[in-house]
Amino acid sequence: VYLVEKQPFIGGKMAQLDTTFPYLDKTSEMLVPRMQMAAENENITIFSSSEVIELTGYIGNFKAVIVQKPRSVDETKCNGCGECWNKCPVEVRSEFDHGLRTRKAIYVTSSEAIPHIPAIDREHCKFFTEGSCHACADVCPTKAIDFQQTEKEIEVDAGTCVIATGYDTFEPSAVSQLGWGRLDNVLTSPEFERILADNGPTSGKIVMKNGNTPKSIVIAHCVGSRDQNYYPYCSRVCCMYSLKYARLIKQRLGPDTAVYQMYIDMRCFGKGHEEFYQQACDDGVQFIRGKIGQVTDIAQTEDEKGRLIAVAEDTMLGTMIRVPTDMVVLSVAMKPREDSPSVARTFLLGRSADGFYLERHPKLDPVGTMVDGVFSVGCCQGPKDIADTIAQATGAAARALALISRGKVQMEPVVASVDEDVCAGCGCCEAVCAYRAVEIDAGTRLAKVNEAVCKGCGACAVNCPSKAMQLKNFSPGQFIDVIDEATRDYAELAE
């Protein structure tokens, strides 16, 4: 198994979370052992800082071209001691912590990062920007720093591919009325996850920007989700992680800390989810049905002075409500990754209207794609929680294993075939094939069909000017016969 990870470290977005719903298990307890197992398993090769840039071939015979960016640290020598990042003089915004703290130009994301080998961020490292600094190389006890590393291109053979590229989160600066980026202590949910995390900037202590403990926190649901102006779909996990926040706040700051959920509809449909909702009610979490219209710091009463005020219509009371609070957490939408169009092109994946990858069949084949042997799982094909993602991943792994252990695949009988005596090699078929199943053979200059890739859609046959391309077992002649047979009674009647 080749594991190709775009970031320098594996674990994805889950590694940034502190706790999971609905049982409040620590994410790290589930994730870290599995990341270690993957790293230590001799049958798994991890390509970090890597991307697949080209995929050719077909089910059972794929060839993937992987580009690996230089880590600038020799993985065979580094022992992960940390001397280098302690010495590095460059402070950079930490993407892993969403800018809530800085990291160095040579860094690991956290103490649990896998591989536990630092990477040099060449955009910011002074050796690469100014050519001056080599502090890390000076202190490295194993002489592992390697500024000379270059980008590598690796080609691997694979029988199947599993796409698990994940999602991005919505940055709500466009929703100006919520004040994110303008008002202190208005945080997005990914930012608040880092505040909650033991390995985060506050070591899991819930504090405001000035270091004080908040006495009240408002959680705003559906920021960007279920909204025609941004993302019309429901992001599915926000209700539950919002409840998770509420319960963790109550646990860590005590029952006197006020927590308000400002929601449109509570969607707690999974196993144990409704119970979790009830537990949150039991914890004393307040639920206000109404979408926040504005977060402001302009006070109207004594109690509001120096605080944030969440303004909404409480649609249950049928009145406007102003909630004075110290912190506002915006539960932001999950959206398709920015690179999803290019990944889709590489793997020939379809995308649905919302931009996520398209399943082969929404009910009957939820992990398959239109390309045989390529599967897509998790949030790259739509928002879902960890449990659903793992269910899909397990399914795709089983499908891949089944294919490999069987060693052969059954093809559909209807595929394109070329009458080589007629074919002029014009390439009209190649131009319209969505599956890259037809190409003009470099030697014969005639069209050649790869039957393992062909889906029998017939586009090439329709586009062939000389009718050399036909669908096997599905030719126009056969069709006329079928129609004649089916309409024979009527034909006789007409006569």
């Binding site: 100006s176 009325q177 559906c222 279920r226 909204d227 025609q228 102006n229 449109i264 509809d265 049905r289 109404g290 979408k291 926040i292 219209g293 504005q294 303004v311 909404a312 219509e313 409480d314 649609t315 049928g318 009145t319 406007m320």
Partner: protein
């Protein structure tokens, strides 16, 4: 036993709302964003969401004041997560009242509609008086072949305070050598506001009258002072697309400046803040031109108010509210004057006759005319030439 306070959905009213163009209310999922966005809730209670839900079930209270509050400022529509055209829903409710006689329209609205029907302007002034301001300003009736037909709003034609805007526009056009004229008595109210107030039939007759008059005159470019004329000509008059070029004065001035046809000789050393009118801004996305024109005037320092651009605060004059009295303490224009003062401006620049009229009133009733001046942008341009 039946529940004494229970209601039942009322299909007839559902059908009427649908017929009058408010069917889109069915998309609403009751999040309350509209209520929380609506500027009325800064000064009084107005449960927009509740009326939308009542409309879904055919149970709106046609007798309620709420029917006449909506200023059609479009703030809620722009933020609605479900794409509900809330203004269309309100218009449908008002049509049901005005045209089908369900409930009563406020007296002020009835009088304005009657005036428009009789004389072509809401003030009820004689048609012959519409061009009364023109001779003194040296403005002639439009003749075929002229560059521009200046379609002046009823307010800028008849209102003794606002006619200054018409004079300023004329003087700028004359100084830049633009060949222009006016329709004069032939012109009728554009009908935008009366339509929002529910009088669809009257609006349609105004569409016909103006279309005939403008086509007959042989106009190609129509210059308007009012964003309400601009909006309805551009988006609601069915035969105008492709036939006439509709330009608002701020757009036209910006164009003249960019083409080098308009140069300023005088300085205006003032701190100016610009009020984005709903119908130029949110309705038609014109935000840059007014600022560009003001910034081109030497000496002008531009400052922004707390609410500007797509989050601008309505003056309170849209949707037929211009003809109705709004109680002191509930006037958006008063809040806006305060915002302008808080922004440190000494001039509040406008580009809409309704806004100008409302701010003129507010600045006097709040006794702030010594620190804040309300000026239409064209006036400032005329002054700086």
């Amino acid at each position: 036993m039946s529940e004494p306070n229970a209601v039942a959905p009322f299909q007839d009213a559902i059908d009427i709302i649908k017929e009058e163009g408010g069917e889109i209310c069915k998309l609403c999922y009751q999040c309350g964003t509209c209520t929380a966005t609506c500027p009325w809730n800064l000064v009084r209670s107005f449960m927009v969401r509740k009326t939308i839900h009542q409309s879904q079930l055919g149970l709106p209270d046609f007798e309620s004041d709420d029917m006449w509050l909506c200023v059609t400022c479009k703030w809620c529509v722009d933020r609605c997560p479900r794409g509900v055209e809330i203004i269309d829903v309100w218009r449908s409710l008002r049509r049901a009242i005005v045209e089908m006689g369900i409930g009563n329209a406020p007296d002020a609205l009835r009088i304005s509609s009657k005036n428009i029907a009789a004389t072509g302007n809401p003030q009820g002034e004689d048609r012959s008086k519409r061009p009364a301001w023109a001779p003194e300003a040296g403005v002639e009736p439009f003749k075929k072949g002229m560059d521009v037909l200046y379609f002046n709003c009823c307010y800028n034609s008849y209102d003794p305070k606002l006619v200054r805007v018409a004079r300023a526009t004329a003087s700028v056009l004359k100084k830049t050598g633009i060949n222009f004229g006016i329709l004069g008595e032939e012109q009728s109210c554009c009908g935008e506001s009366v339509r929002e107030a529910g009088s669809e039939e009257l609006f349609q007759s105004l569409v016909q009258a103006n279309t005939e008059a403008l086509t007959g005159a042989g106009a190609t470019t129509i210059l308007v002072s009012s964003p309400h004329c601009y909006h309805t000509f551009l988006n609601e008059y069915p035969d105008f697309k492709g036939k006439f070029e509709i330009v608002h004065t701020t757009q036209y001035l910006a164009r003249l400046i960019k083409e080098g046809k308009l140069t300023f000789n005088k300085e205006i050393k003032r701190r100016v803040t610009v009020h984005d009118s709903c119908y130029l801004g949110r309705h038609n996305n014109v935000y840059d031109e007014p600022r560009f024109v003001l910034q081109s005037i030497p000496g002008v320092e531009l400052v922004e108010m707390a609410n500007y651009g797509k989050d601008s605060l309505c003056c309170g004059g849209g949707g037929g509210r211009i003809w109705q009295e709004t109680k002191k303490g509930e006037r958006f224009s008063d809040m806006r004057i305060q915002q302008a003062i808080d922004a440190g401006a000494n001039v509040l620049a406008t580009a809409c006759p309704y806004c100008t009229a409302n701010f003129d009133d507010s600045v006097i009733s709040m006794d702030k005319s010594n620190i804040l001046e309300v000026r239409e942008i064209t006036e400032l341009v005329a002054e700086a030439l």
